[in-house]
Each structure stands twice: as structure tokens, then as C-alpha cells.
Symmetry: C2
Subunit: 709 residues, 2 copies
């Protein structure tokens, strides 16, 4: 599923950042449905040439304002009453957090027959992109060309923090300065935030995730991977005049379509050297690490039903990441991809070499190579001394954020760690204070596992390991730390965080003490990495981006940056082996695949699907594929037609699309979406949720707003 690879923030995100570029490298004469375009630089001419349709600014504004960002994923308004359509696997973490021993909403699904029954998700934030502003001049004016990469980065960070802070104060909107084209452009994104988010409806997991991990990232697919949320303001459904109307005629072969969502990252600007490094070092390491985590989680889940429920969501995301990264890895193993990449790089090199004014840019590749060499020689340190043991989305990560919050807010804004700038504080506190469930037993197992891992790789005498273990075995130390901590209590966390973290700074909570002891090492490695890798590459990539603008002109798109992008293409099957894969599947296919596997394992139908089979029109399209350029983070993106009407809901890519992370191709690579007619039929016939289908079609709330109090 096209969820952004979602694994422990403390380790994996940083490691993933290595192999994540910030720019794009493509031949500008696009002959394909290539590109994740920014809304302030849409490929109007290209779309007009290919599909005879010219998206105007009203069309674009409406689509942009109908779209939302949900954590690392996407969604869209589908009624004027704040109703949001996204994937089941996007809302899944919410369903998990609201589940109890009595109600397992992941397993059973959920439907609030009227808004009063909708379930509020603690800590959830949903954002709408209100405007964008080019702030390149302001950001770069502060940076002298003579600064070292690390100092230049520090100077930029200071200006960016200031811009974001001013934005919040002046407009009330959340500001985010994004480096596009590797820093050749800086753009301020302004978001309206909804912080009252409620779950309206979600199918049971078997229907939403039919085929399970076996079929994940594959096609043909038969998944009802959708869910509905609703945002509220002042305890009433928010008024959202920009929403997507439903196209009831459905898709057809070769129909032009558009996708608008928040792709997290692509690596198309990466140099050939970086790709090879990812192939030979980073990806094999990451996949191995994730498989190790998966095995640990599976052992935990095997203990019983409670443990299964507790670990189901994180296991899902881990499996998803393994499959995504394996797909990328396989893509990089394909000699044709490396050959294509090499050809594109050589073309750029010779264009640079041919123009004296550009020749100094050639230096950039050498700078990248130097950073790779440093990376290679410090791999052990980077892999293990940057790692906070324990579940980084869980208590350990929460503890580190609380400890750092107390420390960072004392510093001037410009000097703080990323994530702790003044403009970022409200969402940080919202996240840390939300009454999420934490599973102490799982946390303990995870912490013990990671401590053992560090001991194994760094050795028992390593200072970091000695600090963490404090003379105990991994198991004993994990138990001691987790048993005593009170950080799982939301009220306690709120108390710690109050008054700029006054109590957090002095609290002797066992887990806080543990992460405080770890933090000097974590910060040392973070600093070394920023100096020798991140900052060097940023500067080098900025040069490459400038060279590309000079060579190819301005009509190029930047690599994905977890911000709203417009992709386009057509609904289209593809040749496969010596046969063909059609552009869509039907409900017949769902039952075929289930019975082909004897209705077992990952292919077991839900009760509703079994009992209500005869109520369905099985020939209705279920999922479909299109050529739109998407990646992780696009999960939940709407697929719209030329009128801007909703025809589908992105939830995955096929296996051949994995290598699009590095080089786009539309021969076989496809974006996979749920057909909106399947959603309507499922609401009506499987889930007794006709009122919700009617709200999508007519815009009317199931009950009058008055009835809502």
C-alpha cells in the first residue's frame, strides 16, 4: 500500500532520509504521464497536449482545497459537511487506537449511523493547503556563499524557523517552509488545521485488505480499501464548501484522470552513485532490520488474542515497509533501470560540460561521492549509535520527544533541533498529550529486543551500550525501565509538558531518565550526519538542480516532499508477460480469488461479503489502475476526472511501479485505486450505510445539523 514507509521514527526515518533525495532528475521533454507537480507550477501545457484539457486556476484551486493531508497520507472532502474519504489503511492506526478488548474496529469495521455516534480520534490533525509562497530570496539571502555546508544549513534553519513562526502569528495558519528542487527553491506552505477528527465509517479489515500482505503492492487487486472521517469545528461538522462531487458514470479504458495527494519522497534526483549505494548497502540493511522487527512482532502476536490486537497495526506497517523496500530494491537490481539512469546522468553531464558557465556544477557529483564515502566508513556508527532502542512510535519515542522538548524550548528558536521550533510546538504537544493506548508488555519486549541488538552489534563494552544497560541484561533493563514509567498516562504527560516542560526537565521517571542518558550519543551522531551527509548533499543537490534548470528550463517538477502534488494520466491496463492485465477488476474477481484459495488465510471473505453476495452486482468495477505518477504518501488521494469529479481512491501501486521511486516508467508501472462505484455499492449493499452514499451523492448530512446539538 502506498503508505509512506512507516517505521520507528528514531531510526528508520533517518536512515530512509539517506536514500531520499530532494530534487528531481528527468529529461524535460516528457513523453509520458510523468511528474508529481506542485499546484503553483502545474503542467498545464503538457496536459493540454496529451489530453486536450486545460486545467484552469479555478479548477486547480478547487481540487487543492478539496484535498487534505492526514499524517503521512492523503484524503479529500467528499461532502460540504467535512466528510473525508481516505483509505482504510490510513485510518487504520486510528481504528487501532480506539479499539478495546471489547471492540476491535480493525477487525469488525465501524459505521456511525448518524454523526452523533462518530468516534473522535485523540491527537489527530488534518491539514488543508491554503496557499503557497516562494520564499527562496528570504531564505538564501541569509546564507553567505562562503559558509561551510553545515553552517549554511544552520543559517537557513534559523530563517526558516522565523518565517514559519511569523506565518502562524500573522495568519493563524500552520506554516511549513519546504525545500523544493534540492533547495534551489524554498516555498512556504500555509495549512489550515482541523484538530477535531472523527471516524465515520470503515469496512472490516478482511474486505479492506483482502489478500493481506500476499497481495499488498500487487495487482490485480480486489480491495475495499476506503474509510470515512469527518472534521469538526466547534463541535459541529465543519463547513467545507470545496469538496469533490462523485462521478457516477464510472471509469473507462483510456479515460484521462488526475491524482492530487501528498507523495512523501522520491529519489529521482539521486546520483547514480547514490542509487548504487542504496542498492548495495542501505536497502539490504534496512530490509534486514525490518524483517528482524517483524519476526519479533510475530512472536509477540503468537502469544494470544490481546497480543495479536496490540501488535496488529505496527505489524501491518512493518510488513508494508518490507514489501515496499523490497520492491524498490528489486527495481534497483534491474540492469535496465541502472542503464536508463546512467544515460540520463551522462546526458546532463555532457550538457554541463558543453557550457562553460555551468561547468562548476560538475563538482556536485564529487561532493555527493565524498558524502557516500563518509557514509560507508561510518556505517556501523550511523546504523546503531543513532538508534534509540524501543518502539519509536510508542513510549520510547514519546519519552525522547518529551525530554527534548523540555531541553529545546529553553534555546532561541533558531538554534533548536528540527521538530522543536516554535511553529512546530502546537502539533508536537497535541501528539504527545493525546490519550493514545500504549501496550507496556509490547514496549518491554521491543526494548529488550533492541537492547540485545545493540549489545550484539556494538559489543558489551561499548560506552553507549553500557550506558543503556546499566549493568543489567537487556530483558531485566527493559522490564525495570518500562515497569516503572508512568508516561503511558496521558494526564501525567500533560502535567510534565505544562509550563514549557518545567516538570519534564526535572522528572525522575524511569523512561525519561533512560532516554536522557541515551540522548547525548543520539545527538552526536545526528550532528555528525548533518555535517558530513545531509548538509553536504543539500548543497550539492542545489547545484545539480540549478544545472538542470539551466539545461532543461523551468518546466520540470521537484522530487516528492510530503506536500500536495498534481499527477495526471489515463486509466489503462498493461501488457504482462505474453498476456494483458485489464484496467480494472470486478467484484467477481474478489470471489474468484477467495474461492481459488478456498476462502482461507489472507483470502478469507468477511461475513458480510459471504452473506450478501447475492445482493451485489458482481460486474461492478472494484479496483482499477492508471498511469498517474504516485508514490508512498499518496494513499487516500482522490482520482478525479476532467470535471474534477471523484472516480477513485488511490491505495497502492503495482509491483512494477516500485522502481518509479528512481526512474518513472509507464510501460507497466501503475497506480492502483478503488473505484468509487465500488464504494457506493459497498456502502449501500454491504454496510447498510446508504445514508453515507447519499451524503456523497447529494451533499446532505444523514441527519439535520440541528439534531447534532
Amino acid at each position: 500500500m502506498k503508505y509512506r514507509h512507516a517505521v520507528s521514527r528514531g531510526t528508520l526515518f533517518l536512515l530512509l532520509a539517506f536514500i531520499s533525495g530532494l530534487l528531481t532528475l528527468v529529461v524535460p521533454s516528457f513523453h509520458a504521464d510523468e511528474g508529481m507537480w506542485t499546484f503553483n507550477h502545474p503542467p498545464v501545457k503538457l496536459i493540454q497536449e496529451r489530453y486536450g484539457f486545460k486545467p484552469g486556476s479555478a479548477w486547480l484551486d478547487h481540487l487543492r482545497l478539496s484535498c487534505v493531508r492526514i499524517g503521512g497520507a492523503s484524503g479529500s472532502f467528499v461532502s460540504p459537511n467535512g466528510l473525508i474519504l481516505t483509505n482504510h489503511h490510513v485510518a487504520r492506526m486510528y481504528l487501532q487506537e480506539l479499539s478495546t478488548a471489547k471492540h476491535n474496529y480493525v477487525k469488525t469495521g465501524f459505521y456511525a449511523k448518524n454523526p452523533a455516534r462518530e468516534l473522535k480520534v485523540p491527537g489527530a490533525v488534518i491539514q488543508v493547503l491554503i496557499s503557497m509562497q516562494n520564499v527562496t530570496k528570504e531564505v538564501t539571502a541569509s546564507v553567505s556563499a562562503r559558509l561551510t555546508p553545515a553552517k549554511a544549513r544552520k543559517a537557513r534553519d534559523a530563517v526558516i524557523a522565523k518565517i514559519e513562526n511569523v506565518c502562524r502569528k500573522k495568519t493563524g495558519l500552520t506554516g511549513e517552509v519546504v525545500a523544493l528542487y534540492g533547495g534551489a527553491r524554498y516555498v512556504l506552505y500555509r495549512y489550515k488545521q482541523y484538530t477535531d477528527v472523527r471516524i465515520v465509517m470503515a469496512p472490516e479489515q478482511r474486505a479492506a485488505y483482502f489478500g493481506g500482505d500476499t497481495d499488498n503492492f500487487c495487482y490485480p487487486r480486489y480491495d475495499l480499501d476506503f474509510s470515512f472521517l469527518r472534521v469538526y469545528e466547534h463541535n459541529r461538522p465543519a463547513h467545507t464548501p470545496d469538496f469533490l462531487r462523485t462521478n457516477r458514470a464510472g471509469i473507462h479504458d483510456n479515460m484521462p484522470i488526475f491524482v492530487s495527494g501528498n507523495p512523501a519522497s522520491t529519489d529521482r534526483i539521486e546520483t547514480l552513485g547514490q542509487l548504487k549505494y542504496a542498492r548495495d548497502a542501505t536497502l539490504p540493511y534496512l530490509i534486514g532490520r525490518l524483517k528482524d522487527v517483524r519476526d519479533m512482532l510475530q512472536r509477540y502476536a503468537a502469544r494470544g488474542p490481546a497480543e495479536t490486537r496490540e501488535s496488529q497495526s505496527i505489524l501491518f506497517y512493518v510488513n508494508n515497509s518490507i514489501k515496499a523496500l523490497t520492491g524498490e530494491y528489486n527495481g534497483l537490481l534491474n540492469p535496465a533501470l541502472i542503464k536508463e539512469k546512467k544515460a540520463r546522468e551522462e546526458k546532463l553531464h555532457s550538457s554541463i560540460a558543453a557550457r562553460p558557465s555551468l561547468r562548476h556544477y560538475a563538482q556536485a557529483w564529487k561532493e555527493i561521492d565524498r558524502s557516500l564515502a563518509w557514509n560507508r566508513s561510518h556505517a556501523g556508527e550511523l546504523n546503531y549509535e543513532s538508534m534509540l532502542p524501543g518502539y519509536s512510535w510508542g513510549l520510547a519515542g514519546t519519552a525522547l520527544s518529551i525530554a527534548r522538548y523540555a531541553e529545546e524550548v529553553k534555546k532561541p528558536d533558531a538554534q533548536r533541533l528540527e521538530g522543536y521550533h516554535e511553529a512546530q510546538i502546537p502539533n508536537l504537544l497535541r501528539r504527545l498529550e493525546a490519550p493514545r493506548p500504549y501496550y507496556k508488555e509490547l514496549e518491554t519486549v521491543w526494548l529488550a529486543h533492541d537492547l540485545a541488538l545493540l549489545k550484539k552489534h556494538l559489543g558489551a563494552d561499548d560506552p553507549y551500550v553500557r550506558t543503556l544497560l546499566a549493568g543489567k541484561t537487556p530483558e531485566a533493563r527493559a522490564k525495570e525501565v518500562m515497569d516503572a514509567t508512568r508516561l503511558n498516562n496521558a494526564a501525567f504527560r500533560k502535567k510534565l509538558l505544562a509550563n514549557r516542560g518545567a516538570l519534564a526537565a526535572v522528572s525522575q521517571d524511569s523512561l525519561l531518565r533512560f532516554v536522557r542518558a541515551a540522548d547525548p550519543t543520539l545527538r552526536r551522531v545526528l550532528k555528525a550526519r548533518r555535517k558530513n551527509i545531509t548538509a553536504v548533499r543539500e548543497q550539492a543537490l542545489t547545484k545539480i538542480a540549478k544545472a538542470r534548470f539551466a539545461v532543461y528550463g523551468n518546466d520540470i517538477y521537484p522530487d516528492a516532499t510530503d506536500t500536495l502534488r498534481l499527477s495526471f494520466g489515463v486509466v489503462k491496463g498493461y501488457p504482462f508477460d505474453t498476456s494483458e492485465v485489464p484496467c480494472k477488476t470486478t467484484f467477481y474477481g474478489l470471489y474468484n480469488r477467495a474461492y481459488s484459495f478456498d476462502n482461507k488465510g489472507n483470502f478469507q471473505l468477511s461475513k458480510r461479503e459471504l452473506q450478501r453476495k447475492d445482493d451485489l452486482d458482481l460486474s461492478v468495477p472494484l479496483d482499477f489502475v492508471c498511469t498517474a505518477d504516485i508514490t508512498g504518501g499518496n494513499s487516500g488521494s482522490p482520482v478525479v476526472d476532467g470535471k474534477g469529479e471523484l472516480v477513485g481512491l488511490v491505495f497502492d501501486g503495482n509491483p512494477q511501479s516500485n522502481s518509479n521511486t528512481f526512474v518513472y516508467s509507464e510501460v507497466q508501472a501503475r497506480c492502483v485505486a478503488v473505484d468509487v462505484t465500488a464504494i457506493i455499492q459497498a456502502l449501500d449493499k454491504l454496510y447498510d450505510a446508504g445514508p453515507l452514499a447519499r451524503e456523497m451523492i447529494t451533499g446532505t448530512l444523514p441527519v439535520s445539523p440541528k439534531a447534532l446539538r
Copy 2:
């Protein structure tokens, strides 16, 4: 579809023979479901080890006697009344020949509600393997080790012709001496022949060949590729006490199964040099030639409905061959296959080198290389001067056979061309005299096309071209020859062939004169090929086979030789990409694939399938896959369980099985079969052919034999 590549006998069969070996090369410690075993050397121990089942001689005899050979394909008795189950695509040529402008049985299907309405197929012959006898000593005793390869072959041919002739005279059975293990073994196969063959039932082509050329050789599949024939004796349904009972419980995952049929040829004994030659020269040439024929046929079919009907069957077989050869070609392009082949060859080489008594066998590879060099330097001559222009299955081929018959029967049996030995005469005459339809317009177009091809490749001044064209344009010459010939008249052919072809020898029929003029060139090339390629390779392969016996022992199977073989394995899906393909499909899948393609083109459902959808249990298995080792010629083979009961009907292999021609693998390669429960359901619910289903289940004829008169 696993039909033997069926293209013009005059050219393609000869060319295919190049890349066809006669022996097998495998590591003898089989860990896989590998092998097409002869019934007189069944892999009893292997099957017992793998599946805990010991096939006894009664079990084997019953299975063998229940199986039939139908031209280049397979089938089995499924009632005691001579009822034969085979593929639709095997009976297709019969359906085509019996079709008229009024009744297109290929398109509409056919069902004889009672035996009296069954349609007799002129010229059809169906054979049952009654016994086998090792005649290696007799055959090789006649051949001095000092003879040249060509002379040795001649000597062997003489003995073989004699053995076959004696067999017919003494037993009344049709004898066929087959060289197994590249001539290290010669075995006399004795067949009982049925020459009164009638069509009982065939589905319409859309159901039998759903997915058309697009899905051919692919999986998952949803084809009802079955048909029923019946053999008669003395105008009554033949009594066939050995027949396969139907297993009504159906298949399940990992169920052990057996396949018994007539695989045409495999190239597993081929040397690495031969495989590379096939990859670099033979296959690209053949595929190109076939595509040219296909284009010509498609242009012809586009003229109108009559032309479409006339060309439909041959076009089907040509497309089938293109896809089969392309699959093999792709298999050879896979470096992993070449690597595996090389490893096996090197293992054999070092075993030979290690034993002084075997070292002389090493010479064999050099002899093969010499034949390849000769082949390479004579490719033009071999490709074009061996080619009789025109449709070799049609009038041109018939004419050449008639002319040669008249000439050959005058010679002593031992000196005749292959195909004209005394023992082969009855079936030859049956084929030539059968009242088949010939389409003169199609024949003319084809002849003109081939004449133009020869002119283009050999040049207008080439003696062969000058002889063929007789100073005319290709079109004029083709028209002249085809307009005047009377060979399309069965009575005329019978008259010509009577009295050992007395009239044929002197007839001035335009087409007979044409082929007589061509024959000296054809014979010259044939002779050169036999001397420099066929005979050399036979001798070399015999050596390799002997070396393999010496190294690996006797428990190895020979390459396929168009004779009855036993394969075994399990019903089993396979891993694919990062997902899984299940072991079976269901009727749901049929409708899914049809509606996924909007019920259009190759994916259009038949009227019956559309109208009777609700009568079907859509969860019934339709097609399934198993690991049994099969190849072209296995079409129509029964799949049986341990009790010898019928569970399925082989009709194809998946794309990954194409490279099994060269090296067997069971990772992904699979044999594709129609599930017998699908056949029963289709007979009952789609075709109102319940009586036929009952005959399969109870063995009872639809009407009492008395009513048949």
C-alpha cells in the same frame, strides 16, 4: 496451448527437427517432479518416495490402455463405449473440416444428443498403445561401427522398416520403432488403430478458448477447453473396457496427480551449443517466418466471413506456434537457464573426464559443434531450398505426398523416404484420400505469397525459383497452378492413388507437375541435411546418452518422442512476483476477466455463458495447475489421482513452463488443466448435455446400443 507446434510440414517440421533432440540430460538424483517417463520404465521408486504411492503394473496398464494418441496430441477413454475426452483445440481441426457456410461448429459448438447424430471425421485415426518391445539389438546389429553416420542411418532405417512391416503383418497392429535416449535404445511401439472417429460434443470457441491468443500459454486461465469424440468399430461404439472413471470430489491443494499423454519433443539432451544456436539463429528465424504467415492469413481473413472461416483454424495454430516458440525463445534469453544448463553440462564433462573408459564420448560435443557449423554456413539453403511453397497441410503438401508415394512405392522398402515405408502406407493413404475441404482461394494466396518469398530471398535467377515460377509472376503462377488442379477432389485423389499410385505417376495435373518440378531440389537439401546434420547428431547424441547411462545409471528418462509418457506431480500454485498464484481458478474468475475487459474482443463471453450464469455454481473450480512435466503434444492428456480416476484435462502450460523444453523447473513452471468438475457442470448447466455427463459418471450410453442402428 500445448499442441505440438503445428505448421507446414514441408518447412517448419524439418526446421523444428533441428532444434529437437532425441535424448535427455538431467541429473539423475531427481528432487523434483521431473520426467516424462516411458510406461515400460516407470519411476516407481521416485513416486513412492515423494508421494508414498506405488503404481503397480495393473494400475499402469489400465492407465496406458485408457489413453489415446490423436494426431500430435492426446486423449483418454472416459466410458466403456469408446467415448474420448480431449481438448477443444485438439478436435478443432475436425470441427473446422466438418464446418460449412451454414454450420460453423468452431463458432457454435456441437452436441449430438444421441450417438446416431455424432459426426464422422474423414481420415481421422486414433491410436492406443498396446505394447512395447525393446528392439535395440536387432536395430544396432545391422550397423557396423565403421559406417559413416549417413550410411549407418540408412542401414538402421532399413531394419526399422522391416520390423514395422513384420509387426503389421503378424499382429495387425501398427508398429512404430522409436529411437529413445538418442538412439541408445530402440523400442517397437504397437498401436491398435481406430479409424472411425466421430465428434460427440464440443463447446463454442468463446468458452473453450476464452482469452484467445492473449491468454494462450498464460495462467490464471478460465477455459472450457474440452471436447468429446467417440470411436466406432463395425459402425457401433467401440467397446473400451479400459477407461477412466471420474473423480467427483475434485482436486485440492498438494494433491498428488499423474498425467499420461504423448509429449512431442523436448530438447533437454541438447548441448549448450545447440541451445545457443536455437536462441541466436533458429528461433528468431522461425518466429519471423511464422509472423509473416500470420500476417498473410490475417489479410486473407479480413476479406470476409467465408475467408475468416476458412483461415480460422490454421491461423489459430500459427498463432499458437508463435506464442509457443516466443516462450521458448524468452526462456533461452534468460541467463539463469543458460547458467543452469552449463553447470549440468560441465558436471557431465568432468564425470566423463574422470573415467578413462568414458573419455572417448567427449568427442560427441565436437561432432555436434561441427554439425552446427555446417548448419550455420548452409542456413540460406536449408531455410529456403527445403521449402515447398504453399500450404503444406493443404493442397501443396497433399500433392507432394501423392507424387512421392507414386515414386517411393516402386523402391525396396528399406530405400524409401521416411513416411513411405510399407508399414506407414495405410495411414498415409487414409489421410490423402479423406474428403477434407480445401479452400482454393486460400491455397492460391498462400502459394503466391511463398513464391514471392522465395524469389525475394533466393533471387529471380536462382534455378529453384526459375523452375517454380516458369517465367511468370508469383501471382500468375499460383493462379495458373491452383486453378487447374483437381486434387481438391477426393474421388480424383483416390483414383490417382489406386494401384500403388499408377495414375499419379503419369498424371499431368497442374499441381502434381508443379511439385514434381520442385522435388529434386527438396530431396537434395533433405539428403544434405540428413548427411551433415541429422545423422551426425544422432550418432553424437547416442554417445552422449551412453555416457549418461554410464555416469548416472539407468534411472533416467528419455526426451519426449511423441509417444506415451507418464508424468507425476502435485496440484500446486506458485509464488509470483511478491504475490501468489493459487492452484485453481473458479467460474467467478471467468466472469471477472470478461467484465474486466468489458466483455469484448478475446474476452467476450458466449451467449450460453451470459444467459445461464445464474444456473451455475460460480465457486466450482474451472482450471487448475500442477507440477507434472509436460510439453506440446500433451494437449488432451488426462490428469488422474492415485486411484487412476480422472480429475482434469491438460490443455496448456503457464509462461514459465516454456523453458522446461530445455531445463525442467518446478519453481513456477506449471501444467494447466481443465478441472473435471467444471466439465461436468458445463455439460449439465451450459450445454444441456446431461446424458454425456451421466455417461462419464455411470458408463451408460445415452441410448441403448440397439437404438443406434
